[in-house]
Symmetry: C2
Subunit: 569 residues, 2 copies
């Protein structure tokens, strides 16, 4: 019998109401996902830790949120906001101010664990409808009050952070419904504060709720699905795990209604037109800096889970996985929905996470197939759509993968991944309770530059001793894909980590990756934007900013590098 291994004591205390932890904890209050023993062994080994390091949890953030800053608005101003949205929709509470000023950026989580608050709004306002938003924006402009927006609070790039205070609009309080489904056009008009699961459920339940003939899906399942809003997907140019088939948020939004200091407008909803540069495009990715998204028309698709095909493969190497993936994406037989390939380090860790790696039955199978630890790479995915289509897509993927030496692993790993996909991030809290950080950065690559970005960024990350670096590609196009780097380490200090983190971003950009594939820019990545775009293109964004928001009140404070460089200010 195996020796009974030491297991750390994980936090399973009920979340304290009003605590810092209740703001940053992922998942439902009583929902936990603890690391398996295999993972802990890896971590100990990689980080040179021992059981002693897992004796005491630290900086858990159970304290009650308190703020040392009084709201910077006058009584008259506060009264006016109460008049606009009703007093029950305005909060001055410390807890609310902090909660709705926070995203999921690692820096924010670390701050909250230490009971530190960097950026906080003066006032929390919950608009009931788009007319409220119009009145809020009008009054804010008149009084020069900054306006930030809280959708689902899932930003990992300091997208909310109300650096200059002001009001924060909580969009998911009331503006959180599907207003209508147009079954002929296959579009849905949605309020931007609707959360991912609610949106998907409303579409799945369309016959019962909207009297439609068919069930629908939004086709958008980002890792943050459970804590992000439909509006947030669009304003940050998010991407879902099934984007290879359904497209990114960029492709899914067919029309937008905006309230800006320069006026309110609704773009037209044609699937295509030739009437000059499209305002719908110009607003996509503006991250709240041009104004407030108040309604959006989204493409929807038939919900046909009965046709979904699952597949998983083990490739002998990363090169083989990449080559096969490119051939699949350029094969013109249709596209898979979910499609993911993991590099060797992620594959090995992933196999242990799911309880297969290292197990004798599994390793002997793999050995027979010539798939070695440290080299082999897993691929998995689904095909969605009409029945014959999904079968054909899967068959073609199988054919191409085998050509590149892959072993078919059945659909099981993909099914398992699908079931648990939103729960993996919950382990973050456990690790951090013991001072271990898991963070991610991601980038777009063209096929011809994929290996360079992977190698150079990985070399930088692995250049730090005792650092795990797992990489996957998970959003595919005929012309390229993304690379998603997950790094795990026990930093010496926040300063050490912060410098390391900046180094990764620089390594990505240096190697020719984009600053972001689907996280957006926010304030975290903004310092890299001007060099990346170049002054001519940066100037275009600033001209738009100045047009929509000449007083710089819409989500101000460094977002998207829209404020002129310090020297010019």
């Amino acid at each position: 019998m195996a020796e009974k291994k030491f297991l750390p004591s994980w936090n399973e205390e009920p979340l304290r109401k009003g605590s810092y932890r209740s703001i940053f904890k992922l998942g439902r209050p009583d929902e936990f996902k603890h690391p398996r023993g295999e993972l802990i062994e890896i971590v100990k080994h990689e980080f040179g830790m021992s059981d002693v390091d897992f004796q005491k949890r630290q900086f858990e953030g159970h304290e009650t949120v308190t703020l040392d800053r009084k709201p910077g608005l006058s009584d008259g101003q506060i009264a006016k906001f109460k008049e606009i949205v009703g007093p029950e929709n305005v909060s001055l509470e410390d807890y609310d101010r902090v909660k709705f000023s926070s995203g999921q950026t690692l820096r924010e989580v670390v701050d909250l664990r230490h009971n530190r608050i960097a950026d906080v709004a003066d006032l929390v306002v919950k608009p009931r409808n788009k007319h409220d938003v119009q009145n809020i924006v009008r009054y804010a402009c008149e009084q020069k009050i900054p306006v930030s927006v809280y959708g689902g609070g899932s930003s990992v790039v300091l997208g909310i952070a109300p650096r200059h205070g002001g009001v924060v609009l909580v969009m998911n309080a009331h503006m959180n419904r599907v207003l209508s489904i147009n079954e002929l056009n296959q579009t849905a008009i949605v309020q931007p504060g609707m959360m991912g699961p609610d949106y998907e459920e409303a579409l799945n339940q369309a016959p019962e709720r909207f009297n439609t003939r068919h069930r629908y899906t939004g086709g958008h399942f980002p890792q943050s699905f459970e804590i992000s809003s439909v509006g947030g997907w669009v304003v940050t140019l998010g991407s879902g795990q099934a984007s290879t088939y359904y497209g990114d948020a960029y492709n899914l939004v067919i029309g937008q209604e905006y309230v800006t200091p320069a006026g309110s407008f609704k773009t037209r909803e044609y699937p295509a037109s030739a009437t000059g540069p499209k305002i719908n495009d110009i607003m996509k990715g503006s991250e709240g800096a041009f104004g407030i998204l108040v309604e959006q028309t989204m493409k929807i698709y038939r919900f046909q889970p009965e046709n979904r095909q699952y597949f998983s493969f083990m490739f002998p190497s990363w090169d083989a996985a990449v080559d096969a993936s490119r051939e699949i994406m350029q094969g013109e037989f249709g596209m898979p929905a979910v499609y993911r390939i993991s590099d060797a380090e992620e594959t090995d860790h992933g196999l242990k996470l799911f309880g297969a790696g290292g197990k004798r039955w599994f390793e002997s199978l793999m050995a027979m197939a010539g798939k070695k630890p440290g080299e082999r790479c897993i691929a998995m995915g689904t095909a969605e759509g009409e029945k014959g289509y999904t079968r054909h897509v899967k068959a073609q993927i199988k054919k191409i993968s085998k050509k590149y030496g892959a072993t078919y692993l059945s659909g099981f790993p993909a099914r398992k991944w699908e079931k648990t996909r939103y729960k993996e991030p919950l382990m973050r809290e456990d690790w951090m309770d013991y001072g271990i950080i898991v963070d991610t950065l991601e980038t777009s690559v063209t096929w011809d530059n994929l290996h360079r970005v992977h190698q150079e960024v990985r070399a930088f990350i692995k250049g730090r001793p005792r650092t795990v670096c797992m990489t996957h590609a998970s959003h595919f196009y005929p012309n390229g894909t993304n690379l998603y780097f997950i790094f795990m380490l026990k930093p010496d200090s926040w300063e050490e980590f912060s410098k390391f983190h900046a180094g990764i971003i620089s390594a990505i950009v240096q190697a020719g990756g984009s600053i972001s594939h689907h996280h957006g820019v926010g304030r975290l990545l903004a310092p890299w934007l001007e060099n990346y775009l170049g002054p001519e293109q940066m100037a275009v964004l600033r001209v738009l900013k100045n047009h929509f928001d000449p007083q710089n009140l819409m989500n101000p404070g460094g977002l998207l590098a829209l404020e002129p460089p310090a020297a010019e200010r």
Copy 2:
């Protein structure tokens, strides 16, 4: 034996060098496509014409182009342009000035037939490369000289028309090559002056010319294919006949390099990224008003004509054709490449044009199938891509079409259409030689508004006595399609036609169609743009214009309604 019918004498004279006709005539100089007898009978019947009306051709434009306007540039300015591009690439000739100031807008053709010239550049300049363009733009800004762009000269919306004179840049003289093909990324870097057939040939011949493994296609085949340039496709948001599969020019362009008065820049070529609003998008559809497109990266696709599937159907009615098409586009089994449905009037005329309609063998087949003239509607198309995919797409289209009562007509009509598709417009000259006008307007529609737009616009056009109105939809999306109206009439006068034409545009917009699906806006449709977009969105376009081109020198003169309304000027 059938009575020998009178046939008009069609112009088959060799084109006179330097003549007006040589500017507007479609097709090669010695290439003609004359209307069949059946069509002439229709025209006579519809327009109340007799053989007498076809005795004498008029306003044929055989005269030699002469201009009454001296170039408005100084000798010093002309010398400077010669210095920039070399004297051999500058022309002051009347003929060149008129030719490269003209598009294919009906108004322009009518003017040229009457030896009238509305808008003309002072100087024709043929840039050799992007550095020439930079020098030209820099000098033009310094001297306040307007700059227009001539790609292939196919605009039908007064997109070239140098209303304020200045220089016109002829892009297809030298900047007309594929610079490179990136086979890994499946992209090609192309100079914007490359003409459609040259571009497609270069891609088809990629193994021989660029040493690639595969042959490629650009996937873009607009009706104007033979007379339009790759750059023109992008700056006007054009759409090809296979767009339902390959996408519009909007979807095909992945990166652009621009020279503007506000600087030169090249957008990055990631298939997706989340780094703020995309400058690549902002430049799409700017119609030369923001600056000069000098290089573009286009998505390319595997050229696999051996997999192409053809299909054609006869539906009992327009409603059935539309319903089937919507189900096809929303079916999620893949998309056809070419897909077209014609309304009853177009179907009847088309059948006669192709020699089937009215023939006993055909009509008895149709009668047996219950497909009546005046009601039946033809659909045709192709599927492209991988072999199994194209077969599956065709099979599904067949299944759905039959469900809606369609009779399968084999692939023959689609093959025939494909062969002759670029030649049909050549008949325009023949008709106009006898005073008959064929013109087109087109619009985008969502599925839920398709019938309203079709009915209201058709009612307006047919409200004019003796007017043919043929309509088809030819660019499909899950969320809608386009409507393309072809109208044919013998106008009483240009003024009468002009008013009628404006009435059609107003009817389109009134019914809820877009101003344009793929022709662009130019100067012809610009008067409708501000109301259509609304002042807030129009203001965004003007802000961009003012940023890129504060002196209003880039393709000025009313294009895209970018100049403020007359009242404000």
